[in-house]
C-alpha cells in the first residue's frame, strides 16, 4: 500500500550485511546468544506474517519447528542421509501439516484457534515421542555435522533475510491487504469479495514452512535430538511473546522484541533455571497489559501524540 517501502528494504539489507559480521567480533558465549537470537528473529518475523495482520494467535510454531529438528535427526541418524536432504524435505512436510491445520481451523476464531493450535502441537509432540520410544527403539537421534555456531548463524541470517523480503513483498500485495482486512472484520472481508479461507491457509502454511526450516538449521547445535524437546511448547510461547513485545503490526516489530528478550531470557535461564516458566507468564501478562501493541506500537502512538500536540 505504501509506495515508500524501498528505504525500509534498503535499511533491512544494510542490517543483514552488518549482522553478517557479528561472528567476526562475537565468539563463544555471545555468538551462541546471537545464534539463539537469530533463530527467534526468523521464527517471530515469520509468525507475524500470519498472526500480525490477522490477529489469529498461533501456538503451533513448536510443532513445525519440531518437524524440522526431528526430521534432521531421524533422516541423518536412521537413514544416513546428508543434512541437506531433511533441510529441504522437512519444511515441505511441515508446510503440508500446516496446510491441514489451517484447513481444520478455518471455522475457529479467537481463543478457540489459540487453544486448538496449542492442543494440536502437544498432540503431535506426544505422538512422535510415543512412536519414537515404542517402535523406533533406543537408537538415539544423532546429528553430527561439521557446522559450528557461525555457520548456523549465517544460515539463520539468510533465512531471516528471506522471510523479511517475503514479508515486504506480501505487504505490498493483494494477499497482504486481504489479510489486514480479515484481521479487521472477517465478515466484511468476505462481503467485499475476499476468499478468506485461501488467504489464511496460504499464509499459515508459509509460517509452518519457515518454522521447520529454522528447526532443521538449528538441529546440529544439539547433536542429540530428543523428540520431547524439539517439539517445544515453550518455544511457541516465546515466539509469541517476542513478537508481541516488539509489535506484530510491523514487519520489523518482532526484531525489536527479540533482541532484548533473548538476552533477558538467557540471563533468567542462568539465574533462575527453575523459575523460567513463571517468568514467561509474567512477561506475557506485562506485555498484554502494558504494551498491547508492542514497543513499536507504543513508539508510534507517542509519535502521533507529539504530532497532534504540534498542530
Amino acid at each position: 500500500m505504501k509506495p515508500s517501502g524501498w528505504l525500509e528494504l534498503l535499511i533491512a539489507a544494510a542490517l543483514v550485511v552488518l549482522a553478517a559480521f557479528v561472528p567476526m567480533f562475537a565468539n563463544g558465549y555471545w555468538l551462541s546468544i546471537a545464534v539463539t537470537g537469530m533463530m527467534y528473529i526468523a521464527l517471530s518475523t515469520s509468525w507475524a506474517l500470519f498472526s500480525g495482520p490477522t490477529h489469529y494467535i498461533s501456538l503451533a510454531t513448536g510443532a513445525f519447528f519440531g518437524v524440522g529438528g526431528y526430521m534432521v535427526g531421524t533422516m541423518m541418524s536412521d537413514y544416513q542421509l546428508s543434512f541437506w536432504v531433511p533441510l529441504i524435505v522437512a519444511p515441505l512436510v511441515a508446510a503440508a501439516l500446516a496446510l491441514l491445520i489451517g484447513i481444520a481451523t478455518l471455522r475457529l476464531s479467537g481463543v478457540y484457534f489459540v487453544i486448538f493450535t496449542l492442543g494440536l502441537a502437544e498432540m503431535i509432540r506426544n505422538l512422535i515421542s510415543w512412536i519414537q520410544n515404542n517402535f523406533l527403539g533406543s537408537r538415539g537421534l544423532y546429528v553430527l555435522t561439521d557446522f559450528r555456531d557461525h555457520h548456523l548463524y549465517w544460515m539463520l541470517l539468510g533465512v531471516a533475510g528471506v522471510i523479511y523480503l517475503l514479508g515486504w513483498i506480501v505487504n505490498r500485495s493483494r494477499i497482504g491487504f486481504a489479510l489486514r482486512i480479515i484481521g479487521n472484520d472477517e465478515t466484511v472481508a468476505r462481503h467485499v469479495g475476499i476468499n478468506t479461507a485461501t488467504a489464511k491457509v496460504i499464509m499459515f502454511t508459509t509460517t509452518g514452512f519457515f518454522a521447520a526450516l529454522v528447526g532443521a538449521i538449528i538441529a546440529p547445535r544439539w547433536s542429540y535430538i530428543e523428540p520431547n524437546q524439539v517439539f517445544s511448547p515453550q518455544l511457541s510461547f516465546l515466539v509469541v511473546i517476542m513478537a508481541l513485545l516488539g509489535g506484530a503490526g510491523r514487519l520489523w516489530g518482532p526484531l525489536v522484541g527479540v533482541i532484548p528478550f533473548t538476552i533477558i531470557w538467557e540471563w533468567v535461564g542462568v539465574q533462575f533455571p527453575n523459575q523460567s516458566t513463571l517468568f514467561l507468564g509474567l512477561a506475557f501478562l506485562l506485555i498484554v497489559y502494558v504494551l498491547p501493541n508492542g514497543v513499536v506500537g507504543r513508539i508510534e502512538q507517542l509519535r502521533d501524540r507529539i504530532g497532534e500536540g504540534r498542530s
Partner: protein, 244 residues
C-alpha cells in the same frame, strides 16, 4: 418499459430453528431499477438481504443474478459476481484509514483493480460520496453519516451490478437525511440497480420505482410506492408505526 430481471428471488425461505424469518419470498429487480423492501421491524428484510449477499444460505428457494444461481455460492463469490452490500449497522475496517477502507472494495470487488488504479478509483468513489478531503484520516475520526458514506464508497468501488442498501438512511439527523437522500437519488440517476431496505417513507416515495412489502417474513404487497403505501393490508401491518 419492462427489462429482463437482473436479480431474481424465487420462493425463498429462511428458517432459524423454529422461526421462519423469511417465508416463500419472490420478487424481481430489473436493470436500472430501484426497488424498496419495506416492512415492520423483524419482518425479515435484513435476513432477505443476508441471503442475497450470501451471509446466510436460504433454507429453500433460488436467488439468481443474470440467470446465474447465487444461492449456493459463498459470500465472496457473490460479491465477485456483482452484488455489493452495506450493513444495517455500519461496518468499517477500524484499523484501516478511509482510503484503504474504500480500496478494499476496489481491490477485491466485482471489477478488480490494483495499485495506483485501485487508489485512484477509490479516491473517485470517495469524491462521489463527498468525502475526498479525509482520505488519509482514521475511520474513528468520522461522524456517523461520514462512516456510512465510506461504507457506500467501499461498495461502489467494487462496481457491483446490484447494490443492497440495508437501512442506509437510518440514524441520520434531518439535515444528514436530506444529504443522504440526494446521494442515493444521484445513484438512481446514474442508472444503478439497487435494492433498498428503508423505514423512511419520504425516502421511499422519492427514490423507489417499486416496493416490496414484507410482514412476518412474507410478501404482502408489491407495486409503486404510492399504491403499496395506501394498501389496506400494508397499513394494517404498519399500524402503530407513524407513516411519516
Amino acid at each position: 418499459m419492462k427489462h429482463r430481471p437482473v436479480l431474481q428471488v424465487q420462493g425463498v425461505t429462511k428458517r432459524f430453528g423454529g422461526l421462519v424469518a423469511v417465508n416463500d419470498m419472490s420478487f424481481d429487480v430489473a436493470n436500472h431499477e430501484m426497488v424498496g423492501v419495506i416492512g415492520p421491524n423483524g419482518s425479515g428484510k435484513t435476513t432477505m438481504m443476508n441471503m442475497i449477499s450470501g451471509a446466510f444460505k436460504p433454507t429453500a428457494g433460488r436467488i439468481s443474478l443474470k440467470g446465474r444461481r447465487l444461492s449456493d455460492m459463498p459470500a465472496q463469490k457473490i460479491a465477485r459476481e456483482g452484488v455489493g452490500r452495506t450493513f444495517q449497522l455500519v461496518r468499517l475496517l477500524p484499523g484501516l484509514n478511509v482510503l484503504e477502507n474504500v480500496m478494499a472494495g476496489a481491490v477485491f470487488g466485482h471489477r478488480r483493480r490494483w495499485g495506483r488504479e485501485a487508489e485512484d478509483f477509490a479516491l473517485e468513489m470517495l469524491d462521489r460520496v463527498g468525502l475526498e478531503v479525509v482520505a488519509a484520516a482514521p475511520v474513528s475520526a468520522l461522524t456517523y453519516i461520514d462512516q456510512k458514506r465510506v461504507e457506500l464508497a467501499r461498495v461502489l468501488a467494487g462496481e457491483p451490478e446490484v447494490l443492497l442498501l440495508d437501512e442506509w438512511l437510518a440514524g441520520l439527523n434531518p439535515t444528514e437525511l436530506e444529504t443522504g437522500i440526494e446521494l442515493i437519488h444521484a445513484l438512481r440517476d446514474e442508472g444503478r440497480t439497487v435494492v433498498l431496505v428503508e423505514h423512511v417513507m419520504d425516502a421511499i416515495r422519492a427514490l423507489c420505482d417499486r416496493c416490496v412489502v414484507m410482514s412476518a417474513g412474507r410478501k404482502i404487497a408489491e407495486g409503486s410506492p404510492d399504491d403499496v403505501l395506501s394498501d389496506r393490508e400494508v397499513i394494517r401491518a404498519y399500524l402503530g408505526d407513524d407513516d411519516d
